[in-house]
Structure formats: structure tokens, C-alpha cells
Amino acid sequence: MIRSMIAAVAGAMLLALLAVGPAAAQDKPPLIVGAIYVGSVNDYGYNRSMKDGLEEMKKNIPGLKLIEAENVPETAESERVMEGMIQQGAKLIFATSFGHQQFAFNLAKTHPDVYFEHAGGWMQAPNFGNFFGATQAAWYPMGVAAGKMTKTNTLGFVVGVPIGYAIGNVNAFEMGAHSVNPKVETRVVVTGGWSDKAKEAAAANALIDQGADVVTMHVDSPATIIQAAESHGKYSIGFQSIEARQLAPKGWLTGLGFTWGPFMTDTAKSVIAGTFKPAMVREGLGQMMAIAPFGPSVPGDVEKLVTASADKVEKGFNPFTGPVTDNTGAVKIAAGESWGGDKMGNFDWYVEGVIGKAK
């Protein structure tokens, strides 16, 4: 009696599966996209911005399937994770951290039918493209904000790894601040890694001890540094994701965030249409980058200055136009020359007004 009941239930389930199965198989997604993050997406920072961009892409392309992996280290492990995603049918892979480049590139060679987009590097292949925000010039208006709001004329900048692009950010920041406040200096502390929370807190404290009353950073997650500044009652300027302003209700001035969504949507659409073209894409304010809302302590006239400066940058203003001197007095960009987007990785010197050693 029991046995026949079990057989009846099993038969019903099988029938149900057979009915649903083919229907489910008909909903084949237009594209399966894989994405790897170097950290956690809840970091109020870089990874959050990547996640937001991918979610926007998913919303814009109905039916698109997204496979994600967080905390993928910048080692051969990432190659295995990406390989797993390709096995699951991913045809477009976003390798979102600088150190994932070589491993994604290796896979591009062995999987010519899968497309890769890497964030922040330079390598290219027929199925491998590169993208990032043109962050350097965008830091200029941040410097304007900091230069106007500082009372001690000392700004603090915490840098994770002093690659050329990060040094360029510091330089543009100081130049922007200098343009509204000739006495201002920027102090730089390097922590040696993109994400070491305890060191970032100590670095922020060190800068505040040395007199900085506006603190900003180029690390993966601005959270710890912003919280450290807020606990000392100092101003902070955020980077990577504009969500971070929740962490500093009083001291938040403004910040830079990435808006990867439109680019990611376009890339996915090009893969679906078969028109993918590898390129080194660097887009700035107005395209891949946006300025965060201003904090409560920023007066209206400063807001206007910053917004005007941001408009200038959007229209093509390049702060790295000669003559530009470094902080030892040597002229690094001669009069009449200017450093364009392709040279942003070449910075190994700090501009006048920055206190720190680049190498």
C-alpha cells in the first residue's frame, strides 16, 4: 500500500519535471556573463562600484545571466575561477581588479571564443579589451573642494600601492587644491597594499597627527579611512563608490565614484551582436565617473566652484599641461607639452606641493 503510494508520488513528480523541464530550457539567456571581484562587494568602494555597474547591465539586458565570485585573489586562483565560469557557459568575463590581468589574458589565449574585459591594465588581444575611468583629471575638482575647505592648509592622501595611475591621482588632487589655495600641501602615506584595514586606520591617524584636516585615499575601500577621519572630526573625500558618504554624516565633502553601467551594457550588447572590438577605454567625468553629492558642511559657493571645475574637466581640460614642476624642483612637463591619457601610468614623481616620495 505504502509502496504504491510512493510510486504514485514519484511518477507525478517525474511528470511534473518533464512538463516544466523543456519549458525552462526554452528560456535560454541571451548571454552569460562572468565577473570576478578582488574583495567583497559590501566594501563601500571599488568592488561595490563594479557590482553596481554589473547590476545595471543586467537590468538593461533582460534575461542576461550573471555569475559572480567575490574575494578572488590576484593569483593563479583567479584563472581557475574564471575557467569555471567559462565551463558554465560564460561568454563575457569581467576581470575587475588590476592584478587579474595576466590570468585573464592567459585564458583569452586558450578560449578565443570568449571575450574578456579587464579593468585598469593595458594588455589587448582580439578578444581582450581594457577599461577604466580616467581618474586623474577627475581628481582636480576634488582638490578644488579640499583646497577651499581646509583650514590648516594640509591635506592627507592615503595610497595603497604607488602605481603611476595612483600617483597621477595625487598630483591632480594637489594641482586642483593649489589652483584655489596656493599655500596648500598634500601629505602622502603609502600602506603597501590595496586593502589592509588596520594599516589604513593607522595611516589616516598619522596624516591627521601631522595636521591634515581633509583626508582622502586611493585604496580599495574608503570605509576605514573615512571612519577614522570622522572619528577625529576631520573632513573626508571619498573614492571608488559614492555610497561611502553614509559613513561620514558630518565630515563628508564630496567624492568620486565610478559609473561602469553604460560601458558594461554596451560591451555585453556588442558580444551578443557579435561586434565586440577590443580597445583600451578610458572615460572620465560624465561617462565612467561621477561626482558624489556634497556633504552638509560644504557651502554653496564652494559647490559652484567644484561643479564648474568638473564641467571644465568633462569638456576636456587637462591639468597636466606644462610647465609642471615636481616636488624636488625639476621641470617634469615642459611648457607647451601635455601628458595625455596614455601617459597616466608613467607618473613616478609628485608635483610641487606634495610631501612624499614616489619611489
Binding site: G39, S40, N42, D43, Y44, N71, G156, P162, R187, V188, V189, V190, T191, G192, G193, S195, D196, K197, A198, K199, E200, A201, A202, A203, N205, A206, L207, D209, Q210, G211, A212, S221, A223, T224, Q227, G233, L247, I355, G356, K357, K359
Partner: protein, 304 residues
């Protein structure tokens, strides 16, 4: 060298040295009993994740610290069982514990990444100007103030009580302890429970008091620094205070020097705390007659 730099270095050495101190004290208990725990990094991470999770869930940082101590002790008991009852190789078991701790802490901490918590409050002397140098020098959280007393208590426990005598005997020669009527395995279990609790508190200090966040692997190798500091301290809890301050100070000093504009490459600056640790270990190793417990690392399999 301005006064802000000196104050900053002192403050930061005390703040970052505290978690090193607790971890070192814990490891001293274990090693005094003859067991070297290379998995201290894993224990600290479990403490950090567990403490942060408990604080986020209950809203009380004190409960968080207590939870971290319990979690650390529990994890260390697993290691203790493997090494004492099953006679596993201590080094291999320790490293396995480290990987286990890294993974488990990531699992525990995952739902809480990005959560904002009310951390351990900084206690300051009332009446001091909050922005002044004085306030900066004396406003720390409760765990910092408890650090030296706990180290003193640990010293008293190890060197001035019968239990401590038994502990040290087990570490020098478990056979002799057994012959004297002590139970070496029970003492080792007790020592490792204590070590786990202290290691958990050490990790929790980083997440609940220092940075107020949780991130995978956030101890960044401090567990191994603590193991080196045990050697620096010659297995004496009082010297552990000096070691923790020294390393915490070195890290704080290089960051402060960078902020003050030192003309040294930032890469070299970031290396200095680790170079210092290496130099200290080399200098200590020069003298003959190591102070290490004689039976450190060996398993007592009983007297037949």
C-alpha cells in the same frame, strides 16, 4: 621630529601593539606547555570575525569581545585535541588550523561585511581638551588598558603559582611532570584553552576596537608576528609587552614618518617592521642557551 610625530607614534604603537600583546601572551601559555601553535593567525581571524558578528548582532562590543574569546578557545580546543589526544605533528596541525581559521572566519564574517557597529568606546580622562596632545595620549579602549594587567597576571600565573610550575614542567619534560604526579595532557588542554581565548580577544581588538570593520584576512600576518614575538620575549609575559610595543611602534613610526615627509622610499618604509623583527630574532639567536621550553614541539605519548 615634531611633537605630533612622537605623540602619534606612541599612540599608534599602543593601539596596534595591544592585539599583538594578547596574541603573544596566548601563544606563550601554549608554548610554555610545550605546544607550538602556528595557527595563531587563524585563531585571531576567528576572534575578529566572531567578535564583529556578535557585536553587530547584539549591539554590545563587550558581548562581542566575550564571544571572540569563546570562539577562539573553541577553535584552539580542536587543535588541542588533534595534537594532544591524536598526537598529530604540531607544525602541520597548526598550519591546518590557520587555513581552517581563515576559511571559517570568512564564512562567519560574510553576512556582516560592510555593517557599521558601535565599537569599543575610547575612554578618556575627563577634563582634557579633546583635540590636545594629552587626550590623544590617553584615550584608548578598555582592552588597551587591560593589556599590561593581563600580562602581569599571566607572568604571575606562570612563574608564581603551582599551576604555572606544573605548566612549565610539562613544557620542559612531560615525563618528569608525569612522574611527579601531574597530568601533562590536562595541563596542556588548559593552557591551549587560555591561549585560544587570548588569541580570539587579540583578533577582536582589531575588528571591534581598531578598525570597526570586518574584511577577510584582516589580521594581515599579525598572528605570525606574535609567534616571533614569543621568541623575542623569551617566553616571558612581561617581555611580551616590550615586544608588542616595539612592533606596534615600528609600524606606526613608518606611517608617521611617511606623513611627516621622510625622504625614504615608501617601499622600504613598509618593510621596516618586518626587518626589525628579523634583526631581533637574529640577535636573540646569537646567544647560546635558548630559553625555549625543552620539550617544545614534541608530543608526549605517555610513559608505558
Amino acid at each position: 621630529m615634531n611633537s605630533a610625530l612622537i605623540v602619534g607614534v606612541v599612540a599608534s604603537s599602543i593601539m596596534s601593539g595591544t592585539s599583538l600583546l594578547y596574541a603573544t601572551l596566548g601563544e606563550i601559555f601554549g608554548e610554555r606547555a610545550g605546544i607550538v601553535n602556528l595557527g595563531l593567525e587563524g585563531v585571531m581571524l576567528i576572534g575578529a570575525a566572531g567578535g564583529f558578528a556578535a557585536t553587530a548582532m547584539t549591539g554590545s562590543p563587550y558581548l562581542g569581545i566575550a564571544a571572540a574569546a569563546l570562539a577562539g578557545a573553541a577553535i584552539n580546543l580542536i587543535f588541542a585535541y588533534v595534537v594532544i589526544a591524536r598526537h598529530a605533528n604540531q607544525l602541520a596541525a597548526g598550519l591546518s588550523l590557520m587555513f581552517f581559521g581563515i576559511g571559517l572566519s570568512a564564512l562567519i564574517g560574510r553576512p556582516f561585511v560592510g555593517t557599521l557597529i558601535a565599537g569599543l568606546p575610547r575612554l578618556s580622562v575627563p577634563g582634557l581638551d579633546p583635540d590636545g596632545i594629552g587626550a590623544r595620549l590617553v584615550s584608548y579602549d578598555a582592552l588597551v588598558y587591560l593589556g599590561a594587567p593581563v600580562a602581569l597576571f599571566a607572568w604571575w600565573l606562570v612563574f608564581r603559582t603551582r599551576w604555572g610550575l606544573g605548566l612549565r614542567t610539562v613544557g620542559e619534560s612531560p615525563a618528569a611532570a608525569f612522574a611527579a604526579g601531574l597530568n601533562p595532557q590536562r595541563l596542556q588542554y588548559q593552557a591551549l584553552t587560555l591561549a585560544g581565548a587570548l588569541g580570539g580577544v587579540a583578533g577582536a581588538h582589531i575588528s571591534v576596537a581598531l578598525t570597526l570593520t570586518w574584511a577577510e584576512g584582516m589580521t594581515a600576518g599579525r598572528g605570525f608576528i606574535a609567534i616571533a614575538l614569543v621568541i623575542f620575549a623569551k617566553w616571558n609575559p612581561l617581555w611580551a609587552i616590550a615586544g608588542a610595543l616595539l612592533f606596534g611602534g615600528a609600524e606606526g613610526l613608518q606611517l608617521q614618518l611617511q606623513a611627516a615627509g621622510a625622504d625614504v622610499s615608501p617601499f622600504i618604509m613598509n618593510m621596516t617592521p618586518y626587518l626589525l623583527t628579523l634583526l631581533v630574532l637574529i640577535a636573540w639567536g646569537w646567544s647560546r642557551g635558548s630559553a625555549a621550553p625543552a620539550a617544545l614541539g614534541r608530543n608526549f605519548v605517555g610513559v608505558e
